[in-house]
């Protein structure tokens, strides 16, 4: 394979899932991600997979749960209001330690909001929108190529840690069309644990139970600590980020997804005017790349966090920085996608204010 093709974000994501062996897709239509279920409804029959449009997001995520319990690679996708409805299922998937991939093509909110690109769901994605003491890996791709590659990766992460994994995109990520290398999927069989938990009928083996009800508080505490150990391992092994011109940067912009693309344009503009500005782009939002933030805080004098929200990821930046250097914020919530010029102006303003 490894062909170069022109692909839309949502199509790249859906095709990557199929290449990665996803054979069960359940979802409910919501804009701006309808191209994913539409693509799946065409492709799944071709590969002998299951596409089913659920009666709701709640039903869809529980269908994913059922399929995952039998060992299938399963996914669902939705957008902000629909993801709210899936939170019950996410908590159960985490508790039952079942692998699944959940896509949120983030739109403007709260409430019905609008259908424009937004990053207002960062808290919901990274703080566990569902109930209970759980964490969930969250990936924020920033190009169609990355949508393709990361989608493949998420199925391995889900199986590897027995966890739900979220891909957090936004309306822009879903809609853009870019040339990508369609690479072949190689399953890391050696690295993935055997699926010795799945339900396929107790034939020739003891019966199995997949459950999260633990009435004994001591057992429940131990279960929580067990999950914590797994999350600690994820924190060690999963963080991913991209650094752009950070080596000599006096100011480093931190942004993810679509905002990071805009920020990169702004950094290039600033550089052309001689301002030493860099960009840190978290690819995993949970676990957050603390290490990168700490390292850069030793070189840069200031962080400028840019989000298409009123400021959510900045909390994670501040937790990692621990007050060592100032963290400023610029945000455009509600579906506004600013041009790089706008961010470049903000960079310039802080550059002058802070006398860098």
């Amino acid at each position: 394979m490894n062909n170069k093709v022109l692909m839309k974000g949502t199509d790249a994501l859906a095709e990557a899932a199929i290449q990665a062996g996803c054979r069960c897709y359940f979802g409910y239509p919501i804009t701006p991600q309808n191209e994913i279920p539409e693509y799946m409804s065409r492709r799944m029959p071709e590969v002998g997979g299951v596409f089913l449009q659920g009666e709701s997001e709640i039903a869809s995520i529980n269908m994913v749960l059922g399929a995952a319990a039998t060992g299938a690679r399963a996914m669902t996708s939705s957008s902000s209001p629909g993801i709210s409805l899936k939170q019950e299922g996410l908590s159960f998937l985490a508790a039952l330690e079942l692998p699944a991939v959940i896509v949120n093509i983030n739109r403007g909110g709260p409430g019905l909001g609008n259908i424009a690109p937004s990053q207002g769901d960062y808290y919901q994605a990274t703080r566990g929108g569902g109930h209970g003491d759980y964490r969930m890996p969250v990936y924020a791709p920033a190009s169609v190529q990355e949508l393709y590659d990361i989608t493949m990766l998420t199925f391995d992460v889900a199986d590897g840690y027995r966890t739900p994994v979220m891909i957090l995109g936004d309306g822009m990520m879903g809609q853009i069309v870019e040339p990508i290398i369609v690479r072949e999927y190689n399953k890391p069989e050696d690295e993935l644990p055997p699926k010795d938990y799945i339900l396929d009928g107790a034939e020739g083996r003891p019966s199995r139970i997949i459950k999260s009800l633990v009435l004994d508080v001591r057992e429940m505490e131990e279960h929580n600590w067990k999950l914590k150990r797994k999350y600690d391992l994820m924190k060690q092994e999963l963080p991913q980020w991209e650094e752009f011109m950070t080596d000599d940067a006096k100011m480093t912009i931190i942004a993810y997804g679509t905002a990071a693309r805009i920020a990169k344009g702004a950094v290039k503009r600033a550089r052309s005017e001689g301002l030493k500005v860099g960009l840190l782009r978290p690819i995993t939002l949970w676990p957050f790349p603390d290490e990168a933030v700490i390292n850069i805080s030793k070189k840069s004098k200031i962080f400028l966090v840019f989000e298409m929200s009123t400021g959510q990821m900045i909390d994670d930046v501040r937790l990692a920085v621990q007050g060592k250097i100032p963290c400023e914020f610029y945000g455009r919530p509600g579906g506004i996608v600013p041009a790089p010029q706008e961010i470049a102006r903000i960079i310039e303003r802080y550059w002058l204010q802070k006398e860098l």
């Binding site: 054979r23 069960c24 359940f26 299951v50 089913l52 659920g54 009666e55 709701s56 709640i58 039903a59 869809s60 529980n62 269908m63 994913v64 749960l65 059922g66 399929a67 995952a68 319990a69 039998t70 060992g71 299938a72 399963a74 019950e88 299922g89 159960f92 039952l96 339900l199 396929d200 009928g201 107790a202 034939e203 020739g204 019966s207 199995r208 139970i209 997949i210 459950k211 999260s212 009800l213």
Partner: protein
């Protein structure tokens, strides 16, 4: 010496946690007898509800997957679509099936999912302490309808089994009762038929079982069977609501 009764092979030797006189123990035994008799242990998967029967996995020696409240039929759908050769059944109470899970239940039935639901109707929320259920009868007092269910305030009992009987995807829909030994045996036959309908790939099958809850009805276990026959069966008449195999025989 002839053995006339023994513990079913796939009923674990664990004492039931259910209250004295509760119908779940009876239905559990019927299900396990059928799994043994039909030799299904190696390919059947159960999805218990959130409710008194959430602990069914302590008793059923088969593969079991817990569900969030009301989501049984959606989970069963995902399982069956991913593994069409397995036999999947949900075991649900009235709140699970007919209140919080109404959408999941109706749509699974309407899609004709090849799954089976055993719907245990005792007209109250048992596990949470006897609150009003969608199936609570008019005038019936519960901890959240202390003056008796009134149609003006709480609305009417929901007959979800009758509703499902109207759906094209449903293949076998019936209501039985545990009020007498004969009715218990009829319940077993109905569950057997429901599983056979699933195995034949005919569509969704549902057995509603009217079941006593003496604790929350505040009657003795003995009197609960009278209550079951005299009150529950009046509101919820037992009998087959839909059976597409019968139609085939007629034509």
């Amino acid at each position: 010496m002839k053995t006339i009764y023994t513990r079913p092979k796939c009923l674990k030797p664990a004492p039931f946690h259910y209250c004295p006189g509760c119908g779940h123990s009876i239905i559990h035994r019927l299900v396990c007898e059928l799994i043994d008799e039909m030799d299904l242990q190696g390919r059947i998967i159960c999805i218990p509800p959130a409710g008194c029967a959430v602990l069914a996995y302590n008793y059923f020696d088969i593969d079991v997957c817990e569900s969030a409240h009301g989501r049984g039929c959606a989970i069963a759908t995902g399982m069956k679509r991913a593994n069409p050769e397995k036999i999947i059944f949900t075991y649900q109470g009235d709140g699970d099936m007919a209140a919080i899970g109404t959408a999941e239940t109706l749509h699974a039935a309407n899609r004709g999912e090849k799954i089976t639901s055993i719907f245990v109707n005792n007209a109250v929320y048992g596990m949470t302490g006897g609150q009003m259920a969608p199936t609570t009868m008019l005038g019936q007092k519960t901890s959240t309808s202390p003056y008796g269910r009134s149609p003006e305030v709480e609305g009417h009992p929901l007959k979800i089994t009758e509703l499902i009987g109207t759906l094209p995807g449903a293949a076998y829909v019936t209501r039985t009762s545990l009020a007498t030994p004969a009715k218990i045996m009829a319940t077993k036959k109905a569950i057997k038929k429901a599983l056979e309908v699933q195995m034949a790939g005919l569509g969704y099958s549902l057995v509603e079982v009217l079941s006593p809850c003496p604790t929350n009805w505040k009657v003795s276990p003995k009197d609960s069977f009278i209550y079951l026959e005299e009150k529950m069966e009046k509101e919820y008449p037992i009998g087959v609501m839909k059976d597409i195999t019968a139609k085939k025989k007629d034509s």
